[in-house]
Every structure is written in structure tokens, then in C-alpha cells.
């Protein structure tokens, strides 16, 4: 496996794992409180919609000229990466509350208990699970498509995403609880750095720039972004009290 392929697999794996943990918490809360079969039906239908999206858009993206693709996709990845990194920096600095899966689980479970009961397929369980998986999955689908299309290896990106989902589901089944101990913010920090790095790299290439050393510039760029983000955390921490974890 080449270095860019390894970077692709790690980026997609981490991003997918973070989103899968968030979706898992909601499905677990709804399924264990109300109706597992309806919740799992929602998961299945959402997964099918996402798979169709990737299958339909994947081949379409590969026919776009590579320069245009890199400019557009690089720009979008950069915007995504900056959003992830901004939130991760603010959370690491204590300026924004950490994501708390246990609190989210409690909140979702309480809402599920309060919702009206239903016979047959439970529309509440189906809708909440479907929405959670679809919304978290859309970001994953976007990352799979953009990374995969740019490196002409959508199957590898999809495989990395699949392995991440499997790992989260197996860990969740083993724990039989929300995955509150997953270092979500550290993972989001890493994903933010990777998305921003690839966004700058591909976006600049699409805009007509040539990087010294070609793809060898990627790790240098990643270290630069990581170092700058770390300095921003230190700068923001100066005298600021840390916030407690919050549900969202």
C-alpha cells in the first residue's frame, strides 16, 4: 500500500468511526428503550440509501476532469476540515463543551420513553434511527466519494469506511453501552487535520499550483497544520476555565 493510500484509509477510517459512534449512541438509545426491530429497520433503509448514493455518484465523479475535481473537492474538503478542526480546537482548549455520548444516550432514551407508543413497526424508532444514520452517514459518504475519486480508489475508501463501521458496531455490542470512552475529540482533531491537509493540497493543485516534491509535501503540510492547531489550543487555554462535557 502506498503512502497516499495509507493516508486515504486512515482519514476515512477515523472520520467514519467518529460518525458511527454518534449514530450508534442514538440507535442504541431508541432500540433499547422502544423497539429494536423498528430501529434496525431504520438503520437498514438509511444504509441502503447511502450505498445507492455512493454507487450512483462514485462513477459520475470519475468522469469529471481531474483538475476541476481537485479544485471543487479540495475546496469542500478544506471547508469540512476547517469546521472539524475549529470545533476540536475549541473543545481541546475548554472553550466548547466536549461531546458526551453517555449524556446523549440519556437524553435520547428519555425522549423515546416520552413518545407515544405504537403497534407494529414503531414509526418513532424507525424515524429516529433512519435520520441518525442518514445524517451522520452523509458526511461519511461525502468523504468516501471525495477521497476515493481524487485518488481514483473509491473501493479502498469504501472498505476503510466499512471496517470502521464494523469496528464501532462490534465494540458497541461488546460494551452493550454508549461508546463514551472513545476519544472522540482527539479523533475529530486528527480528522480535521487530515481533511484540511488534503483540502489545501488538492485545492491548490486544482487551482494550478504544483507542490514541491509532489505528494511528499503531504506529511509536511499535515505536520504544519497539526503544529499550528496545537499552538492555537495553547493560546486559547490561557487562563480560560474548562467547560464540562455536554450532550451536543
Amino acid at each position: 500500500m502506498s503512502a497516499p493510500e495509507v493516508s486515504l484509509a486512515i482519514s476515512v477510517f477515523l472520520a467514519t468511526a467518529v460518525e458511527a459512534v454518534e449514530a450508534f449512541t442514538i440507535v442504541l438509545a431508541v432500540g433499547s428503550t422502544r423497539d429494536w426491530s423498528s430501529a434496525l429497520l431504520g438503520v437498514g433503509v438509511a444504509t441502503l440509501v447511502l450505498a445507492c448514493l455512493v454507487a450512483a455518484l462514485g462513477p459520475a465523479l470519475t468522469v469529471i476532469p481531474i483538475g476541476v475535481l481537485r479544485l471543487v473537492v479540495g475546496g469542500l474538503l478544506l471547508i469540512f476540515g476547517l469546521q472539524w478542526l475549529r470545533k476540536a480546537i475549541l473543545r481541546a482548549a475548554g472553550a466548547k463543551a466536549l461531546h458526551d455520548e453517555a449524556a446523549i444516550y440519556q437524553r435520547e432514551a428519555a425522549a423515546a420513553r416520552d413518545a407515544a407508543p405504537a403497534g407494529g413497526v414503531d414509526a418513532y424508532s424507525f424515524a429516529i434511527s433512519f435520520k441518525a444514520v442518514l445524517l451522520e452517514g452523509l458526511e461519511v459518504a461525502f468523504i468516501v466519494l471525495t477521497f476515493g475519486a481524487n485518488q481514483d480508489d473509491i473501493p479502498l475508501a469504501a472498505l476503510a469506511a466499512g471496517v470502521a463501521i464494523l469496528a464501532v458496531v462490534l465494540a458497541g455490542l461488546a460494551a452493550r453501552a454508549p461508546l463514551a470512552r472513545v476519544p472522540e475529540n482527539s479523533m475529530k482533531f486528527a480528522v480535521g487535520v487530515l481533511l484540511t491537509t488534503f483540502g489545501i493540497f488538492w485545492g491548490a493543485e486544482g487551482a494550478g499550483a504544483s507542490w514541491p516534491g509532489g505528494e511528499a509535501a503531504l506529511p509536511v503540510l499535515a505536520l504544519l497544520i497539526l503544529g499550528a492547531a496545537w499552538l492555537m489550543v495553547r493560546d486559547l487555554r490561557g487562563g480560560r476555565p474548562r467547560l464540562a462535557a455536554a450532550p451536543s
Binding site: G74, I79, L82, R86, L90, E139, G203, A207, A209, I225
Partner: protein
């Protein structure tokens, strides 16, 4: 329709539209520098770090 547009905006742009605008401006500047035949790779990293720093300090 409005909800769909808001959803797309929320998905793509997120909670700080200035970051998205800064990213687009940075790529535009890179394209301009490249178009006049100068090396343009150096534009992105400092511009991106500056945009991010400005956003987190706000």
C-alpha cells in the same frame, strides 16, 4: 424547498460561514498567483492557518 436549501447550507458551510468564504478566497488567490506564472503552492498553508486562527479567536 427552503428546508432542503438550509440543510445543504448547514451541511456544506457549517456554523461559521466565514471559514467557507476564507477557503474559497484562498483558492482564488492561489489560482491568480498560478495564472500569472508564479509558484502558488505557498499561498494555501499560511492563508488557511490565518483563517482558522481568526475563526477560533472570534
Amino acid at each position: 424547498m427552503r428546508a432542503a436549501a438550509l440543510g445543504v447550507w448547514e451541511f456544506v458551510v457549517g456554523d461559521d460561514w466565514r471559514l467557507a468564504l476564507g477557503a474559497v478566497a484562498m483558492l482564488g488567490a492561489t489560482a491568480l498567483v498560478a495564472a500569472v506564472g508564479l509558484p502558488a503552492w505557498w499561498v494555501g498553508p499560511p492563508a488557511t492557518i490565518s483563517i482558522l486562527y481568526w475563526s477560533v479567536r472570534r
